[in-house]
Symmetry: C2
Subunit: 891 residues, 2 copies
């Protein structure tokens, strides 16, 4: 006979597959001698057998359950269904991982009109008993019998008359309510509420099994590729009550401070209360430390158990407990959630305490959480009481307060006068760049995580919340209207103060206090590392990552400042330097525009001659900062119209500045307009049409390199041609680069070692990588564009439908945020394999936004790339993710 039922005393932590996560956890606590309310688990195998058996319990199961129940009765000294001394139980689902759509907990099962009376007598508390019964009927009706929960709420609210709390309800009122609940159940579910406790138990167990094949659970498993055959367990556990009097209590605690990581018991408790009361916040709980005075013996026992559990699980535990009439019961223990700062400290401390090794420590911190070391955060206490205005996408890390400014010029002007500004736009464009630089934070109403605002903000390490759809921005009126569910909630004006939380994607009304990053203060030299414990933990932890990882980590950096930051965060080079990002600085844009509107080769060359020394200067600075490390420079990429103004007035003004007829300039701007600019005249297509642009850029690079070399700086330039779809394009551009290199080398007498390679950012480039590698000395996968073309989805427009896709689980993640391994990933693997088939040892990297996203970094490790390149502030995240990739591959 198959064993379908395990007492908590029979299981242990290793039986997760068979007993589910919850069952295995409770069994493990029981096994280690922790006081746990007795109970038993019905196995996940039984769930499968239930379905194979036409949704009937398999042979022997019910008998085993009754037998286990008998044992539990003996352990507790109460009897199930006994009117005098009734055993009550909770019934809950427990799959291997917790899973949305699975059944919630049914509490107080075993109550009926008879046992209810017994409970009242036993506890000498009729109201307590009546409330317990009301709760049971409500939960059972909703969860097991599928009655709409709103109907129960409605009865509760009617009775309370809109002013009283649940706790104000009298025993009699609670009794009436329970009867009304039963009437609703009769009408809706068409069944009498079961009086027989065994019938109740049977139905609750079947309901757990049935929920395994519920629509939401199936959908969830389909999306996450979890096989249906795993099944769920069912946990039946003795109820204990913390609300039977002043010798009762309930509480939650962490074995270490989850905010700071400090090694101290941290939590809160409530005397004479149920667990739900702590969560609901009806009464204010007390700090756990006070328990030491109030219940010294139980506290000592609890503290000992907590430490034991931490040692046992070798990680911070988040525990729930109930004290019933002076007796401590542990209800749950699990690894505690913690802040990023706490996560690092705890991991390092646990290593120092000898509990875990360094490799284990590295797996304990989600890489993204390192952001909290680098950026300001909203003060957590202050946030609680602050007015939350709207939520959007957490697009750029940090937190900042400032006044609303809707116009980039004004933002720049105000910032110059020392005002902290938040640039608020419907969406941003390259011409807003100076305003974005000047702002403390950027807030947009439209655009996803890879919209212009988001990309630029992350690049600058600037706080940004984007796609905040509840904001309506009226530039003319100078207002930001906050709408919620179609209603205007608030109208803000330019000049009003707000606070933006880029870690959480939230916007607060007014100024909410924030805290500066200590790590950044050290990096900038304004704080000594000796004075910053945070910094020491941070660097220690990252140095362990570096010992483990294989993948190189570079940064995307366009300016000397970015390059400096990147290097201080441990970047091993620049993986993407976008030459055009420097085009907007100062007066340069004038020369760039002159170049674009030029009608002849001569005019274009004249304008290019103005840009060249500026570019050369930039490159010299970057090479200097990156002394000894490779710098990958991409030739001009964006569509030219991005550099031109589009308003009538701006065009006319520019025409005057350039000394050409306004009509002609209008015509030129029009002629550059494209139906689909993303798929238009850009990338290497520019350099093929205007070879003189590539020539100028190559000359600026090589002259800068020669100058730096003559100053003793080690320069390793890697010239990267964008948007190549066919090897012929790369060949054409490469010829120019090599010709210019030769000429600069002979002109300066400086030999320069350099590479020429390409972005792989079009499906065709990946598909024909074997041919492209005939020319390319390196590949850098441009996964932003590769994602756009592979999916046929523009990042600028996907905001219209992509969020819904993710919400409806049509896609697991936003592919612009997390690399799509199924589709785009195939192209990357193909590109690497085919490229290396032609050119063994071909250097490969990734320079899309994904280069700093942990799951994507791990994919890059598995795909055999040599490096990832990401924005400077994500370098540390990538370093950790790369280490975790190695550790995960060992399992």
């Amino acid at each position: 006979m198959t064993k379908w039922v395990y007492l908590f005393t029979e299981g242990n932590a290793s039986m997760r597959e068979l007993l589910g996560g919850k069952g295995a956890g409770v069994a493990e606590m029981t096994r280690t001698g922790v006081p746990v309310p007795p109970g038993f688990t019905i196995t996940t195998d039984c769930c499968n057998a239930y379905y194979e058996n036409g949704k009937e319990f398999p042979e022997g199961m019910w008998a085993q359950a009754l037998e286990a129940l008998k044992v539990v009765e003996g352990q507790v000294g109460r009897r199930f269904g006994d009117p005098a001394n009734p055993l009550l139980v909770s019934v809950r689902s427990g799959a291997r991982e917790s899973m949305p759509g699975m059944m919630d907990t049914v509490l107080n099962l075993g109550l009926n009109t008879q046992t209810l009376a017994g409970l009242a007598t036993l506890t000498n508390n009729p109201r307590f008993a009546a409330d317990a019964y009301r709760r049971f009927v409500q939960l059972f009706g909703k969860i097991v019998l599928g009655v709409d929960g709103e109907k129960f709420e409605h009865v509760m609210n009617e009775t309370k008359g809109g002013v009283r709390q649940d706790t104000d309800l009298s025993t009699e009122e609670l009794q009436v309510i329970a009867e009304e609940f039963k009437a609703i159940i009769r009408q809706d579910a068409g069944v009498e509420f079961p009086e027989n406790p065994y019938e109740q138990l049977r139905m609750a167990i079947a309901a757990v099994f049935n929920s395994w094949m519920g629509r939401r659970a199936i959908d969830y498993r389909r999306v996450y590729r979890i096989p249906d055959s795993l099944g769920t367990g069912v946990n039946v556990q003795t109820m204990v009550f913390g609300n039977m009097g002043s010798d009762c209590a309930t509480g939650v605690a962490f074995t270490r401070n989850p905010a700071t990581g400090a090694n101290e018991l941290f939590g809160e408790y409530l005397v004479n209360a149920q667990g739900e009361d702590v969560v609901a916040g009806i009464r204010t709980p007390k700090p756990i430390a006070l328990m030491q005075d109030e219940m010294p013996e139980v506290y000592a026992q609890f503290n000992g158990i907590a430490q034991m559990l931490e040692n046992h699980y070798k990680d911070v535990q988040d525990v729930e407990f109930t004290i019933e009439r002076g007796r401590l019961w542990m209800l749950q223990t699990r690894n505690g959630k913690r802040t990023g700062i706490a996560a690092v400290k705890i991991a390092v401390d646990l290593v120092n305490e000898g509990l875990i090794d360094r490799h284990t420590a590295l797996t304990r911190v989600p890489p993204d959480m390192l952001n909290q070391y680098l950026f300001p955060i909203v003060d957590p206490d202050a946030a609680l009481s602050a007015g939350r205005l709207a939520a959007g996408l957490a697009a750029g890390p940090g937190a900042a307060s400032g006044v609303i400014v809707l116009n980039p010029d004004e933002a720049a002007a105000l910032a110059e006068r020392g005002v902290n500004v938040i640039l608020v736009r419907t969406e941003t464009a390259p011409e807003d760049f100076h305003g974005m630089v000047a702002a403390q934070a950027i807030l947009t109403a439209r655009g996803g995580l890879t919209s212009h605002a988001a990309v630029v903000a992350r690049q600058m390490g600037k706080c940004c919340v984007c796609g905040c759809g509840d904001l309506q921005i009226d530039y003319k009126a100078g207002t930001v209207t906050v709408v919620a569910r179609g209603e205007v909630v608030k109208v803000l004006k330019a000049g009003d103060a707000i606070t933006v939380d880029g870690h959480a994607g939230l916007v607060y009304d007014g100024e909410v206090p924030t805290r500066e990053s200590e790590v950044l203060q050290v990096v900038r030299g304004t704080l000594s590392p000796d004075d910053s414990e945070l910094y020491r933990y941070f660097t220690t932890f990252l140095s362990w990552s570096d010992d483990v990882r294989r993948l190189g980590v570079r940064a995307n950096a366009d300016t000397p400042t970015d390059a400096r930051v990147a290097r201080s965060f441990g970047a091993a080079g620049i993986g993407l330097c976008r030459t055009e990002h420097m085009f907007f600085e100062g007066d340069r844009i004038d020369a760039v525009r002159e170049m674009i509107v030029a009608d002849s080769l001569e005019a274009r060359r004249a304008a290019l001659a103005k840009i060249e020394p500026l570019q050369q200067g930039d490159f010299e600075q970057i090479f200097t900062v990156m002394d000894g490390l490779p710098v990958t420079i991409r030739t001009l990429d964006p569509p030219l119209h991005e550099f031109l103004p589009h308003g009538d007035a701006e065009i006319t003004a520019l025409a005057t500045k350039l000394g050409i007829a306004a009509d002609r300039l209008h015509a030129k701007v029009d002629s550059l307009r494209e139906a689909n600019p993303m798929l238009g005249f850009r990338g290497c297509r520019l350099g093929i049409e205007y070879p003189e642009i590539t020539e100028m850029q190559a000359r600026a690079i090589f002259r800068a390199a020669a100058n730096c070399q003559s100053r003793g700086i080690k320069v390793i330039p890697e010239i990267m041609i964008p948007l190549v779809g066919d090897v012929s394009e790369l060949r054409k551009q490469e010829e120019i680069v090599r010709r210019v290199a030769e000429s600069v080398m002979s002109e300066t007498g400086q030999p320069i070692k350099y590479l020429v390679g390409t972005m792989i950012e079009l499906p065709r480039a990946a598909l024909t990588a074997n041919r492209i590698a005939e020319e390319a000395e390196f590949f850098s996968f441009g996964t932003n564009d590769l994602t756009q073309t592979t999916f046929g989805m523009s990042r600028d427009d996907a905001g219209r439908f992509l969020p819904k896709y993710v919400e409806q689980k049509l896609l697991k993640d936003d592919p612009f945020e997390v690399l799509d391994q199924d589709g785009v990933g195939q192209l990357i693997q193909m590109g690497v394999e085919r490229g290396r088939a032609t050119r063994p040892g071909l250097k490969t990297g990734i320079c899309g936004e994904h280069g700093g996203e942990p799951n994507s970094v791990k994919f890059c490790h598995r795909a055999g790339l040599d490096y990832v390149s990401c924005s400077p502030y994500r370098v540390v995240i990538a370093r950790l993710a790369a280490a975790q990739a190695v550790l995960e591959a060992r399992h």
Copy 2:
């Protein structure tokens, strides 16, 4: 000792590899007893040896050449370099295939100051000799010594003083010119013009070899993947002269009429002239038939040789001949170029005459040429004397005259009054559709072969020339300005007559006569097949194709009319019915617009309810026409804003019509605007956001199917979901379709057999085809979009750079015209293989524009697709191409 040199008498047609095409051809003629001026060929192997030998002739070659020359001297009775009786030769290159960049012919080689005198004496024609010498120096200087040809032209023009012809130059002037030429050579090439004929010959041979590794030749071979190792041959042949007197002549002829295919000798000749004179058109040549009277004996000989060559080569021959002092010399024979109509007639006739078999006949007609059977053509004679205005892309077949109309409404109005109009637009948009329907032809200034104008025109089988960059259209002024090389050539006004030749991509001034298609007259029932020889040849030929091909051919058809045409051309079903193409008909667009601007589900459903019966009616008609054949219907695909007006006035007018505030409609139109509509909110993304649209379309399809079935019509609907990137999208839409199908079947009691499948038009769909095939019952490759995304190139914008790419050979073909087998083709193969791995026997087809392009059709055959689907008028082209694919695969 390797044999490097072959006399013409030693070779034959099978030695093409070794002797090159020309050498083998001349040898074959010699071998079959045709009088050919004697000569010899230096082998292609020798070319390779020349390079291996450091660009020196390999050992023995020169000696063999001299020996061969001796034999030729003997055959001709003249001696090379003999002042009294000089042998003159031509030297030309001859690779296996003729190849751009290879060396042109050097004529009259062997002339020097001494032999020149001998030639004058011998011919008794000093002017003839002086002119021959002048030509020789000029050609040798330019071709062998690399002097800029312009410089020689300049001298000629100076001497002629701008008024006289070459033929007006006196002997003395010609002598002076030759001396000046030599001076130019001395100065430019830094060498004396070689006096020694052997030196001349040696240099000319080396020049041929050197041209094999010239830049253009190398580029050409790189693009066409021709190995460098093939090498070129060199042909050295005795000169013969048709300009020595009235017993001399020169001419060209076809063994059958190349325009009609009639079996009659067709050509022209000139007495006392050189071949160049016939080509240059200085004198008007006489029809070849006249030669029968003028030179009866030579004519008889020539006629016999011509017939013999046709029989020998089993194809129409295009021959060149010269009569020198009454003696006939054949200079060249090659397969004759012919019109499509001639090609079919000749192929069928040759089969009937027993010269070739049917399979061979099928390989003799380029599939595209069948267009000439289906569309009007510009009368060839009239075209010669007509005024050509501009050239663009041959985007839609046929030819038409009419008056210029710039506005689609006006086009529709005028056409209703019986006026033939040509719709001339900068580019077209879906809202111009009614004007395009009304016009005889469409002419656009912008857009490539897959621009909206081109796609719609081909779909309708309508004459169209697009991308005519020399036209500047001013809608306000109502003018079409023709510009050539930056200068205004002509300003046409709306109402002026023009003629558009869609076969050639040309625009003529005024009305030029055109000829109607007989085949279409038969199809339409206005001409009896018995009265049309053309029709009989056409159908006979196509029936042979059908006997051979494996690939099914369907049509893309959106209307009953299109469907009818498609069926009459042999389409085996509809491979793509774009439901939205019917949205613009009549008042429907109002309901469509109402649906788009609807703010609530109810409003949207109300508008959809208006559209549904119209769609159902369309489908009933199409099912009726296609009785017994499958009809693939695609659900709504294009971005919604394509259905909305964009001008301020139009929006306001629509707002009034719909009874909503103009502001609100403006806002709606704005909100639907996208940065990259091609990558935006379209395809199945619409149906996922608005499931009620898919529901309505499915209901219209299935109710139409049920109605038709009840009338005894056999209906095979295949519902196709567009723009799927992940199987989850297809699953979501499929659920709706199947649910509606069930409901209609139970409502009507009609069981309906149907399929649900998807377009594979995104790289991700091809990459994840194994997953998508879990749901899809068929795949249809949408190669238009697949090309766009694979290349990251928008068809609407590629006009800016793609023509240059093709011109510079960065790409072999426009990938929107000819399927890119290297990139897009890989995705198709992947899609087929992976799809069939999941679902063996998965039906696969292609429904992009490429489905009617012969090379692409052949690729589809090789990739194992089940069918291609193309516009109705290209069905016959695809049928032939599919047959050729089978025949080519056998080789």
